[in-house]
């Protein structure tokens, strides 16, 4: 058994780019769903328009990197408006479906042959990260302790990524303990009551959608920056589902819930997968071949989610009392 | 106001054994119930209650005293942490609600007491779920009591006014002919005319041999018609006695009944 590999890959996943990207996406979802009660199942669309905004701006329109970022942010904001204006009046579960539908529309359009010249079809776009890595202040080398560590490229990415994650957490923390956050939480509970108290529910929902969308869109940037490419299918419903899973794992409406949730999520994924692969390779599980590890790993990860939530339905940071109130 | 205070009137009793002395042939009795919703927080702190065959019992008390919780606990809707509920000698502690229904217990909850997406008629049908054969007959009966409901039998309960819902809830409980009926604030939200109807109805049912336990905030009214009453405070019996005794007890009046209705 190659425990060293299992442990290093697991640790890398916990603090690596996956946690940054999924963590940010989940922070956005947490604002939408955890605090405001908006069942926005279209988070992937925010990531997609941002990633594509950056990519298309740089590769197709030949704009500088920073302009790409601005365009990506603007695209996310516009998406929030387009999505919000018609749908924020809907009941929560209807909103969920409409946002899924909208996200799928976005993905299908990005992936279509029809718009291939702009968005690059199913292969997406690449070649827009040069400027980002050109800003790297880390000289080449290996950063870390022993087998744990990253090269200069990744460490730069992670430095920026985790800063943004922490900054987002700080913003969420400040906002959610303010009266503004109180209004959001009240909307989550009963918007009519909030209306009766003179708050413009629509405007708050829109602000929430914007904020969460923009944080989600940062996730889109980081996905593109790390992988050097954006592709339509990564921004499918699965991504949103995972973001939700992460939020619930960490504990809804908790500032660090999404970040810790993302870490647990990836640790589970990597640890289970790599341990299983090693077990099979070393003949501990005779009835399986290494090529069958894939599905069984997923199955185990699914089982892991189930067990985690059965054991701790409120998530890591969640409050059991809230769950008790929520139960039907 | 706490139970340990020495009794100032005949109505107040603090002695468990004295209270339970009359409980021998009780139809339904609770012994030292401790129950609650959240872990670690008990709402009922050892309340006792018994009701004899064909008795009408009133429970009054301040808001949040645990009256509804007591009814729910008896009916198996709140987890009982310790203590016992006996129905005709049978231990029914934490038994599921539907099995109690088949043992002849009926219950009208205080809130959320209709099925919003079902029509009035279907709501009533659900009331007679275990005795579908009787539906027609009973429906005619409640239709006479609440003509407003009969007119609208196809309207969805979710669109009804507060009072209309309360009527549906009451009517639903009248669909079966239970031998023990638990009513949680049946008169709340009803017009004075219908409040009368509810109280008269309760008495009438009781006369016909049904054991009734009624929680009311229309306390004076309730004490007037009940055989015995309990005053519940902070999950404990604060006072018990006959309806008359309680209604005239100055302490009870000051703390729980107020003087408005007398004026």
């Amino acid at each position: 058994m190659d425990w060293l590999t299992i442990i290093t890959t697991t640790v890398h996943a916990a603090i690596g780019w996956e946690s940054v990207v999924y963590g940010l996406a989940a922070i956005g979802v947490n604002i939408h769903f955890g605090y405001t009660g908006l069942l926005n199942f279209g988070q992937a669309a925010f990531m997609a328009v941002a990633g594509y905004g950056l990519a298309v701006a740089v590769t197709v329109m030949n704009l500088p990197f920073w302009m790409g970022i601005v365009i990506g942010l603007a695209a996310a904001a516009i998406l929030a408006l387009l999505l919000g204006i018609p749908t924020l009046q809907l009941r929560a579960d209807y909103l969920a479906i409409v946002t899924i539908a909208a996200a799928e529309i976005v993905r299908l359009v990005f992936r279509s042959v029809y718009f291939k010249d702009i968005f690059g079809g199913s292969d997406g776009r690449r070649g827009f990260t040069g400027d980002f890595y050109a800003m790297n202040p880390f000289p080449p080398g290996h950063y870390g302790i022993g087998p744990f560590g990253f090269d200069e490229r990744v460490i730069w990415f992670l430095a920026v990524g985790w800063s943004v994650v922490l900054l987002s957490c700080l913003v969420v923390y400040l906002l959610m303990k303010s009266p503004w956050g109180r209004v959001l939480k009240a909307i989550r509970e009963d918007e009519d009551a909030v209306r009766a108290l003179g708050k413009n529910v629509f405007s708050y929902k829109m602000q929430s959608l914007m904020l969460g969308g923009i944080i989600g869109c940062l996730a889109g940037f980081f996905y593109g920056l790390y992988n050097g490419a954006v592709q339509p299918d990564i921004f499918g419903t699965e991504m949103t589902f995972f973001a939700y899973t992460i939020v619930i794992l960490g504990g809804a409406a908790r500032v660090f819930g999404p970040v810790v949730g993302a870490m647990i999520f990836w640790v589970l994924f990597v640890f289970v997968g790599n341990t299983l692969a090693e077990l099979v390779r070393n003949g501990f599980i005779p009835f399986m071949t290494t090529t069958q590890v894939g599905p069984i790993r997923y199955a185990l990860v699914g089982l892991g989610f189930i067990l985690l939530l059965v054991i701790r339905p409120q998530g890591i940071f969640g409050d059991k009392r809230e769950i008790a109130i929520n139960a039907r | 106001m706490n139970a340990e205070e020495p009794a100032e009137s005949k109505a107040a009793i603090t002695d468990r054994s004295a209270h339970l002395a009359g409980a021998e042939d009780a139809v339904l009795r609770c012994d030292e119930l401790i129950a609650g919703y959240l872990p670690g927080v008990n709402i009922l702190n050892g309340s006792d209650l018994y009701v004899k065959q064909a008795e009408l019992i009133g429970i009054i008390g301040p808001n949040g005293a645990g009256k509804s919780t007591l009814l729910k606990a008896m009916f198996g809707l709140v987890n009982i942490r310790s203590g016992k509920v006996l129905l005709k000698g049978e231990d029914i502690t934490n038994m599921k609600a539907h099995s109690l229904v088949s043992r002849g217990v009926g219950y009208v909850p205080q809130t959320n007491n209709v099925f919003p997406s079902l029509t009035i008629e279907e709501n009533l049908e659900m009331g007679a779920f275990q005795v579908p054969g009787k539906f027609k007959e009973r429906f005619e009966f409640v239709a006479e009591l609440f003509p407003a409901l009969a007119e609208r039998r196809k309207q969805r309960a979710g669109s009804l006014s507060g009072g209309e819902r309360q009527m549906v809830a009451m009517a639903r409980a009248l669909m079966t002919e239970p031998s023990v009926l638990l009513l949680d604030e049946p008169s709340a939200g009803l017009s004075p005319k219908l409040q009368d109807l509810v109280f008269i109805q309760a008495q009438q049912i009781n006369k016909a041999g049904v054991t009734v336990i009624m929680v009311e905030q229309n306390a004076r009214r309730c004490l007037q018609i009940c055989h015995r009453g309990y005053v519940l405070d902070q999950g404990r019996n604060a006072y018990t006695g006959t309806g008359q005794q309680l209604a005239n007890d100055p302490k009870v009046i000051q703390l729980y009944l107020g003087t408005l209705a007398k004026a």
């Binding site: 060293l4 199913s122 090269d151 490229r153 992988n227 499918g236 894939g294 | -």
Partner: protein, 406 residues
């Protein structure tokens, strides 16, 4: 890769840029596979894994590479909807893989190519067809044995024209494989004087294909070109249902869907006379038998030859370089693929190498001659025809060899 940068140039520049330990060989050639075990392309996984396994079995039977048996780690590439591939690459790099065979999907390869080549490891795909990889910045470490779209498209297009179909309909799976091939077929067919009356790019995950087929039906083309993977069975089903059967219209298939297992449950004669193109100079039957000895459950053989060739080429290049370091292997890959004494198996080739000869590996998937970009330059396409039993004859009607570029 990178247009001009050749393998030899970057073998110097890649090493310092990467901090991965794999840059220095450790004496054991370690292969990693990054192939789909899960996700939408999971059906492509088993044959690809089998191809690599078969090659490895033969290599190790022949004494391994550099005197040691070749090690191998299998990982899942998933599909683009998850980020499994990136995880898998991390694991492979941690396990000191010298070369990684995968991924099946161009999009997945794209998302990990920087990571793999950045670590000085050879990235060798048996199935990527996107033309992006020709120009991608890869430090000269990216190679592929994938079926040459352009040539196959030309051959197929010419076949369609030669069969006298003046009106042609194309159903293509909407991804880089499908659209790339469809573009080439469309161009060839149009140049040859026939008209493409309808081209439908369909989403392979769509709930059903009746609307897509209805579009073809509306134009009633003489020849129908089906480009895709195994979902073609659903398309065939629709074609028959909507009255465009193979006995009234001429159907053509490509390597992704010319299969002997996919259609056998269909009524006899459903595919009678249908033609399909498959790259590779050899009749696939014997090779398939060998594959079945590795994995008896195989039902499909797509990209198995390419995977097999990839593993063999890497092993030969390592032998030729006398090193198992990724950059050294990359530097020799083009050399062993062309110009020299021809050989068709690892054993034969390695014997020639040991005898100090220059070799030219001829693969099961085709002659495999790498150009500067690490793409195959020459290929052979076989044209096969289905019989009454919905299986294609093991002998090709015809083989065409040519330059892929052009």
């Amino acid at each position: 890769g990178g247009g001009g940068d050749t393998a030899t140039q970057t073998s110097q520049s890649a090493a310092p840029a990467s901090s991965a330990p794999a840059a220095q060989g450790d004496g054991t050639l370690t292969l990693g596979t990054l192939l789909p075990q899960t996700g939408s392309l999971a059906f492509l996984g088993p044959p690809e894994f089998a191809g690599v396994d078969l090659a490895l079995k033969e290599i190790n039977e022949a004494g391994g590479v550099l005197g040691k048996p070749v090690a191998k780690f299998d990982t899942d590439s998933g599909d683009t909807t998850t980020n499994i591939a990136s995880q898998s690459v991390d694991k492979l790099l941690a396990q000191k893989a010298d070369a990684i065979i995968g991924a099946a999907s161009s999009s997945v390869s794209e998302s990990v190519i920087d990571k793999i080549t950045g670590a000085g490891v050879v990235h060798f795909s048996p199935a990527n067809t996107s033309d992006k990889f020709t120009t991608i910045a890869d430090k000269g470490l990216y190679f592929r044995t994938s079926p040459p779209d352009k040539l196959q498209g030309r051959v197929l297009g010419d076949l369609v024209v030669a069969d006298g179909n003046d009106t042609v309909g194309i159903m293509a799976m909407q991804d880089s494989y499908g659209t790339g091939l469809a573009d080439q077929v469309q161009k060839t067919v149009t140049d040859g004087g026939a008209e493409v009356v309808e081209r439908v790019d369909y989403d392979p995950k769509a709930a059903d294909f009746s609307a897509d087929v209805a579009k073809l039906k509306a134009k009633n083309p003489k020849g129908i070109v089906l480009i895709g993977f195994e979902e073609t069975a659903k398309v065939v089903q629709e074609l028959v249902k909507q009255g465009l059967p193979a006995d009234k219209h001429k159907w053509y298939m490509v390597d992704g869907n010319t299969s002997n297992t996919n259609y056998i449950k269909m009524p006899k004669g459903t595919l009678d006379g249908v033609k399909g193109t498959i790259p590779g100079a050899a009749a696939p039957e014997e090779f398939q038998k060998k594959l079945l000895s590795v994995n008896k459950d195989l039902e499909d053989f797509s990209y198995a030859p390419e995977s097999y060739d990839a593993a063999n080429l890497i092993a030969l290049a390592a032998e030729a370089a006398k090193s198992d370091a990724g950059v050294d292997i990359a530097a020799k890959l083009a050399e062993v693929s062309k110009g020299g004494e021809k050989c068709t198996s690892f054993k034969a080739c390695v014997d020639l190498l040991k005898a100090g000869k220059d070799i030219d590996y001829e693969g099961v998937s085709g002659p495999v001659e790498f150009n500067e970009a690490g793409d195959p330059a020459v290929a052979t396409i076989g044209i096969y025809q289905y019989g009454d039993d919905n299986k294609y004859a093991t002998k090709a009607l015809e083989y065409r060899t040519g330059n892929i570029a052009g």
